[in-house]
Subunit: 135 residues, 2 copies
DNA sequence: CTTTAAGTCTATCAAGTTGGTAGGGAATCT
DNA sequence: AGATTCCCTACCAACTTGATAGACTTAAAG
């Protein structure tokens, strides 16, 4: 399951997508409109900035805004960033791979099945962008 | 991600699938062969018994065994039982549904996307059984 | 050059979950 | 009766999650 933090992140990103190219948006505005605890949202947006998804301006007239075209930012990227692995097992994760202990990947039936699930999920998440969050 | 408990459960079930119709198998044997902490495994197997997946016999010659044909036990069932929801959001879960707060499901882009992911995952997990874990 | 309006950073915390352990109880077989 | 094996309750340390507090930095306005 996506954490609450991830859900907040997506709501905030959807809002910033709506406001794309309209100048910086206050954290407080996002917090109010999307009903996300202010200080928690601060952390989330800062993290997204450090990951190069968002940019910000300080001082009067400042705020947060998308750094790139929302149609170019994959949902999969955000999930990995904020929520972690998409795969159901570390041994089938592309970005968070960890070898299985006590289990030969070449003969583990679960392994193969979870690769299928991963690929099915990625087929969707890698082909949807922030633009698809609003309509 | 599947919890360690879930991974243990699948390993144990795979072992019991191999021994299907060969009489009860000791917890201690499963623990040793699959390298699962004994007392932790006890809890897991007991839970699977209460969920009607396994059955057991006490005393000498006792142990655990599959209650049904492994080809009839869906992987999805086990995941839900031991790990919880398969969907990435409560508002798109079939078995663990919870309404979204502050978010109209009919106009939430994330909602639709996560339904797609859920269906893609279920297409696999609902059509694989314990038999597919061994080969 | 001071005030004010923002975002930035560090630290902390309560509650819940996860992975695991301990030990005795209950059933069953010999 | 005694051995064997599962059953049950309780407990615990470590980690994660969701959230808050407060001081700091940067930038614009006047």
């Amino acid at each position: 399951m996506l954490s609450k933090k991830s859900q907040y992140a997506f709501k905030a990103l959807a809002y910033l997508t709506e406001k794309y190219k309209q100048g910086p948006v206050l954290i407080a505005e996002v917090s109010k409109k999307k009903k996300i605890p202010l200080k928690f949202l601060e952390n989330i947006l800062l993290e997204l900035k450090k990951a190069d998804i968002l940019d910000s301006k300080k001082g009067k007239g400042g705020g947060y805004f998308l750094k790139k075209d929302p149609a170019k930012v994959k949902v999969a990227t955000i999930v990995r960033l904020v929520n972690g692995p998409i795969a159901m097992l570390p041994c089938v994760s592309l970005y968070f791979y960890e070898r299985c202990k006590n289990c030969d990947e070449k003969q583990c039936g679960l392994h193969d099945m979870m690769i299928e699930v991963r690929d099915a999920s990625l087929a969707i998440l890698e082909n949807r962008t922030l633009s698809d969050l609003v309509h």
